[in-house]
């Protein structure tokens, strides 16, 4: 293999990576015209969009969760729909149902009306207020990208992305998402309060007369194209092994589980967690200007990817140990093992 052949073969990858970074930067800048601060959350949402996954946003009211998703939908020029979940909402309300309509001849016939789930970008606001029956209606749409109502199956257009929000405080009258539902979210992003310097910009933008208009800077087709670029990023064996061991470390009783996991974790991540680690790691590698996933990318993706896939037990709750602390312990143990084995 000569250097010239390498250089010519690598040129396509370099162009694709540069294009990815350009589009990513444009969408991020457009969203940041509306959103102030929360750079990590914006980056996480965009990462999930390009990795082809769904996002669960968790934060107290008033932090801009809904605005973030709406801004993203507008900047990408995708079909956007919003569902405000309530306890009396039924699956037919979001999937669609058959309604009786008048025909020209004076008769009547049943016609299928699509629900708000049929879109490119769906904002499922306060998803934990819906009953499990309605929540489960999302499962098929999120995993198989299709909706089945009666004998009718509707294929959802790509890119399809569900961004759900939930309020961690008001838990009265809510239905916590089941594990199967949680596992289908690529990432769980926790939105915190803005910094002091961000408050000025937030107040200026929202209490004045000027309105920020989000302009579309990309399209669904371009997003699909960049998603395939992300999938092309190779994963070396050592990075893949690192991701596998990280996921296994979340499972109590496994060979790689630290003592904290055995004590505090009741349910670890599934293989879907390893898939998510690699997908997010690929996006992070491209954003970092590299052409292969490294263990650092896997580590950076781990908190958001594993946060909702690790269930802590009662001992952890009583000791005040949360999932993020467990993941931090796992990463520390993994790093220690890597140093020892290096």
């Amino acid at each position: 293999m000569t250097n010239d052949s390498n250089t010519s073969g690598a040129g396509a990858a370099r162009e694709a990576a540069a294009h990815f970074q350009t589009v990513y930067g444009k969408i991020r800048d457009e969203v940041n015209r509306m959103m102030v601060g929360q750079a990590d959350v914006v980056e996480g949402v965009l990462t999930a969009l390009f990795a082809g996954g769904h996002v669960l946003l968790e934060g107290v009211p008033g932090l801009g969760k809904t605005m973030l998703v709406r801004s993203l939908g507008e900047s990408v020029d995708l079909h956007f729909s919003r569902i405000q979940f309530t306890p009396d909402m039924m699956p037919a309300d979001i999937q669609g149902t058959q309604v009786l309509v008048d025909t020209e001849g004076g008769g009547h016939e049943l016609e299928f009306r699509q629900g708000p789930l049929v879109a490119n970008m769906v904002l499922a606001d306060e998803i934990n207020r819906a009953t499990p029956k309605t929540q489960s209606a999302l499962l098929e749409a999120m995993q198989e990208k299709q909706i089945t109502v009666g004998r009718r199956t509707i294929k959802l257009d790509e890119p399809y992305c569900v961004m759900a929000t939930q309020n961690p405080v008001e838990q009265e009258g809510t239905y916590p998402l089941p594990e199967a539902q949680l596992d289908r979210f690529l990432m769980k992003l926790v939105i915190g309060y803005p910094k002091e310097e961000d408050y000025n910009a937030i107040l200026d933008r929202t209490t004045g007369t000027t309105e920020v208009q989000i302009q579309p800077v990309s399209s669904g087709a371009e997003i699909n194209e960049l998603r395939s670029v992300v999938r092309d990023v190779p994963v070396p064996a050592h990075a893949k092994q690192h991701a596998i061991r990280l996921v296994m470390a979340t499972q109590p009783g496994s060979d790689y589980a630290p003592a904290e996991v055995n004590e505090y974790v009741s349910l670890g991540a599934s293989p879907r967690g390893a898939q998510a680690l690699l997908l997010v790691g690929k996006v992070k590698a491209l954003l970092d200007g590299r052409f292969a996933v490294s263990t650092a990318d896997i580590d950076a993706a781990a908190p958001a990817v594993l946060r909702h896939r690790v269930m802590v037990n009662f001992h952890a709750l009583s000791d005040g140990v949360d999932t993020d602390a467990i993941i931090a312990k796992i990463l520390a143990a993994s790093d220690k093992a890597a140093v020892a084995s290096a």
Binding site: M1, T7, A10, P234, P236, A239, F291, A292
Partner: protein, 509 residues
């Protein structure tokens, strides 16, 4: 893509492979050094706490030898010291050498280079892609090209591996102190044995000076190993005290002059002791003098013993320390017994305490001196004599349960408070380990209504009778009510209308 040529180790023929080889070797060297350092630190942390082991073993062996044979063979103190210190270090060094010699994989060397130079796995990734047989994708080729750039930089930069180094753990200090104490005890044993007449177990220095080989006159004792002359120099290095050296030299001279028959005696007579040794023994005997000089009070007179002991206790700070008790020392032990028996009599005596007092002579002999001393010290620590609590009575029962009739409560235990059965059924048995907030479903009802009937006997009440009086005359006319007058004449059709309306009302069910 042209088919790549492969190197003997399975990699594609690429200049980058040579660079990666070089970097991997550097990484492996650094990794070996770090592993050796870590192994040494780990082994030292584990083995240094055993630094006291060899001195203690030497001491125990010497004592056992002394007890069984009477002539212990002492290893020179310097040798013991070096053994104690060098054995853990030698063990740690051996483990470190083994760790340094262990083979390390190539990818581990590249990983350490990647890690320490912050290359985020570029070298390792390129090495992996170069070793694959399948056709490389554009991204894999780009990754290799990317690694080519950073490999050049990595060759010119140093791989700084952080060696943790080894620092003695804080927990080692007590073990070092214990080892030093054992060494001191060992040396003291040697010195004391050297002072003993006729003993073969002389300290290393003395043995070297008093050995027959040094004189060349006496035959070599086959049971005694030949002590090299270096031991004298070693002992002098350790024992820097000039006075000790001088006394040892004198002791050595004296030992040379001693006849064999005195050396062979076991020192019971004291004849075989040298001048210094006799001085030492004399001093030790004089320590026991007060106990021997003070006449022991008789067993049946504890008050005298108590009186004789009390000022001793107060002035204990000024008094020299009490010599250790020895079996067969009649003076000291008698004094101790006298004070112990005296302390059995409590000065604040009561009936109960008098009853509990042990007066039989057999029991008095069972009493131990140390127990009595402990009691007195405890009382002094508490601020003086403590009241005797033996005449306390049990508290009054506060059991509030009502028995049936005159029968007492069978569950009452006489201790007051709820009984055992009550405790097992009480609130304590309902407390859960898990705090669960109270939950009230619905509205709590007001509870059962309690009706209390009071039987009240009728009692006469005084009242004033109303006196009769005559009626007055009527003020208003009686009979005949006024009728409203019609405003005008009633037409016949009006009468008919009203009649039909009323007839209709009546006909309606």
């Amino acid at each position: 893509m042209p088919q790549a040529h492969e190197t003997p180790d399975g990699h594609r023929a690429d200049p980058l492979v040579g660079q990666l080889d070089s970097l991997a070797r550097r990484g492996n060297r650094e990794l070996s050094a770090r592993q050796a350092s870590d192994a040494f630190a780990s082994a030292a942390d584990r083995s240094l706490p055993l630094v006291w082991l060899i001195p203690v073993l030497g001491l125990v062996v010497a004592l056992l030898d002394l007890a069984f044979t009477g002539s212990p063979r002492l290893v020179p103190l310097t040798v013991l010291f070096l053994l104690a210190l060098l054995a853990p270090l030698a063990w740690s060094g051996a483990l470190a050498l083994a760790a340094f010699m262990a083979s390390i994989e190539r990818r581990s060397g590249l990983r350490i280079v990647d890690r320490n130079l912050g290359l985020k796995g570029r070298l390792q990734t390129a090495d992996e892609f170069l070793a694959t047989d399948a056709e490389l994708s554009s991204f894999e080729l780009a990754a290799i090209e990317d690694a080519r750039v950073v490999a050049r930089r990595a060759e010119s930069s140093s791989i700084a591996v952080e060696h943790g180094g080894w620092r003695p753990n804080e927990t080692v200090a007590p073990h070092l102190v214990a080892g030093a104490l054992a060494l001191i005890a060992y040396g003291w044993l040697g010195l004391s044995l050297a002072g003993a007449p006729g003993t073969d177990a002389l300290p290393p220095t003395t043995v070297a000076q008093a050995s027959p080989d040094a004189d060349g006159d006496e035959p070599t004792d086959p049971e005694r190993p030949a002590v090299p002359e270096e031991t004298t120099a070693d002992a002098d290095e350790v024992q820097n005290d000039a006075a000790k050296d001088a006394s040892e030299a004198r002791r050595g001279d004296a030992a040379k002059q001693l006849p064999d028959e005195l050396r062979s005696s076991e020192g019971k007579t004291g004849k075989g002791k040298s001048a210094d040794a006799q001085g030492q023994s004399a001093a030790s005997e004089s320590r026991g003098a007060p106990s021997g000089q003070t006449p022991a009070p008789p067993k049946g007179d504890p008050k005298k013993a108590l009186e004789s002991k009390k000022p001793k206790k107060k002035d204990s700070a000024d008094d020299p320390p009490r010599p250790p008790k020895e079996e067969g020392d009649p003076g000291g032990s008698t004094a101790g017994r006298g004070s112990a028996k005296g302390s059995n009599r409590n000065t604040v005596t009561s009936k109960w305490s008098a009853k509990d007092q042990v007066t039989t002579p057999d029991d008095q002999e069972i009493e131990d001196d140390e127990d009595t001393d402990d009691e007195e010290e405890e009382q002094e620590n508490r601020g003086g004599m403590q009241p005797n609590l033996r005449d306390r009575r049990p508290p009054v029962s506060r059991d509030l349960r009502i028995g049936f009739g005159n029968q007492p409560n069978p569950d009452a235990n006489g201790r007051g408070g709820p009984s055992e059965a009550k405790k097992s059924r009480g609130t304590a048995s309902l407390v859960l380990g898990v705090p669960i907030p109270d939950r009230i479903k619905g509205q709590p009802n007001p509870g059962p209504t309690r009706i209390t009937q009071e039987r009240v006997e009728p009692s006469p009440e005084a009242h004033d009778p109303v006196p009769a009086r005559g009626r007055n005359e009527r003020s208003l006319p009686v009979g005949g009510t006024t009728r409203p007058t019609a405003p005008g004449p009633i037409e016949p059709w009006m009468n008919q209308l009203i009649k039909r309306y009323l007839d209709g009302r009546r006909a309606r069910p």
